[in-house]
Symmetry: C2
Subunit: 281 residues, 2 copies
């Protein structure tokens, strides 16, 4: 496994592989790798000749007052993790080579970026889209792998790929949950033991909604109210949003029909968590 530190070095490695007609699978990450990433890496390992994992805590997607500085960076553990999974290249640039002096070009998927998580994290998805586009341009993958946990991110990246005529194929892997039902997230390490238990309200609220829908509920407001009520019982939980939307436009839905996304964000103490579930009715 090679660790590559600059876009230029990564680019020339890739060009060599490309000229040999090798297929390239890519998993963009911010490190702090967990079982969720593992499922992406293993899927990618099967489907491509070469595998690139990027580890880069992207400053452009953190707002002021967010956790950029304290975001976990267990780089040694992450590299060991990648080595074990037979990753070929880890791209681990420093912020100044990713964002050189005078950097001023941003890509934004308008509309989709301002709702749900974008409402409480203005600029977040612009930062995500920009770094993902940069990484796609450097790594030129045939396939790139994302987790369904970040449902809005997936929808935004897919739209960007279509709109900008990118040739990469976006593959989405299901949410990976621990045995208690908590969705894997690098931010889970911020949770105390008690908070980790409280955090189960997110998946429980989604399960409740799932059961209601199975039993015939179609009124979004009624479902959201029930979820809200369940979550509010936990003292440490503060709801950021609970939404039922169209899976393409992220527009909110009044009566459920077809393919819908149930998505929510809840703060447990100071830790902002997200979870979601797709339903077909």
């Amino acid at each position: 496994m090679k660790i590559i530190k600059t876009p230029q070095a990564m680019f020339s490695v890739i060009n060599k592989l490309k000229s040999d007609n090798k297929s390239i699978g890519f998993i963009p990450t911010m490190g702090a790798l967990h079982e969720g990433h593992l499922s992406l890496i293993r899927a990618a390992r099967k489907e491509n000749d070469y595998l690139v994992v990027s580890i880069f805590v992207n400053p452009a997607q953190f707002g002021p007052g967010e956790d950029f500085k304290r975001y976990p960076r267990p780089i040694k553990k992450d590299l060991e993790f990648c080595r074990r999974e037979k990753v070929d290249f880890v791209f681990n640039p420093d912020p100044t080579s990713a964002y050189p002096k005078g950097f001023s070009t941003f890509v934004n998927v308008e509309g989709l970026s301002e709702v749900l998580c974008g409402k409480s994290r203005p600029g977040h998805f612009k930062g995500v889209a920009t770094i993902v586009l940069k990484l796609f341009n450097i790594i030129q993958p045939d396939k790139a792998y994302f987790g369904q946990k970040d449902a809005q991110q997936v929808i935004i990246i897919k739209r960007m790929v279509r709109d900008l005529n990118l040739s990469v194929k976006i593959k989405v892997m299901p949410i990976f949950r621990d045995k208690t039902g908590l969705a894997m997230s690098s931010r889970n390490i911020y949770l105390s033991k008690k908070q980790r238990v409280d955090a189960l309200v997110l998946s429980r609220a989604l399960n409740l909604a799932g059961t209601m829908i199975k039993n015939g509920a179609r009124d979004a407001k009624r479902i959201i109210n029930a979820m809200s009520k369940l979550i509010s019982r936990k003292e440490s939980a503060v709801i950021d949003y609970i939404a039922i939307t169209d899976t393409n436009s992220l527009g909110s839905v009044k009566k459920l029909s077809g393919s819908c996304l149930l998505a929510l964000s809840v703060r447990i103490g100071k830790v902002r968590l997200i979870d979601n579930r797709k339903v077909y009715v």
Copy 2:
């Protein structure tokens, strides 16, 4: 010469050329081809195995009330022009294949896009950057050719290429002037015979500035005032801006030193014209 109408068709032609290791030169145009374009095409013809010219009047770079609808579209003449110059592929998509339903992704080079022409044409350079990025992604050129006449556009595209880690090489060809000194522009056809003569104030003002600088003038304000005075003598001329800027940042300069850009935009009647000159002091 092949005429290609959809991104998909263009993309598969290009992929074939790429897999044969052919080099691709690209000239993005809005059609209404003139001697300025000719110099780009001829330079590109020499330096590449295959040559793609795009002809697309890009709605995203026109503001409300601008000349999108009446912009000249002499497609037959343009195709004849390309055929004569041994262009291999003309990419001529229709707006709906370039901007499919739900299109919402835009790239913007912040800062550089809001000054000079960007001030009176808000959103213009966002539209330019977005279509150029899309075309680069479809055509994957080794080299792309732009005219120095659109100086701000060139600076913005170069910044975008650097910031987004694109591998295309940007080549800039000098302004092509007719024998009277008028910079070639597709919009010159809007000018009446008298206006065409009046339009010479742009190049004359740049010449005046050039002479002043040669004679030792370094104070930007003084040079701009002299240019302004010259232009104001023409009754049909309304100055949009006259600027002396740094050639990279487009920040305005007080005392000229090093490499500077003299740029101006003047309306002759209803026709907005631009011209510029680089100076080294």
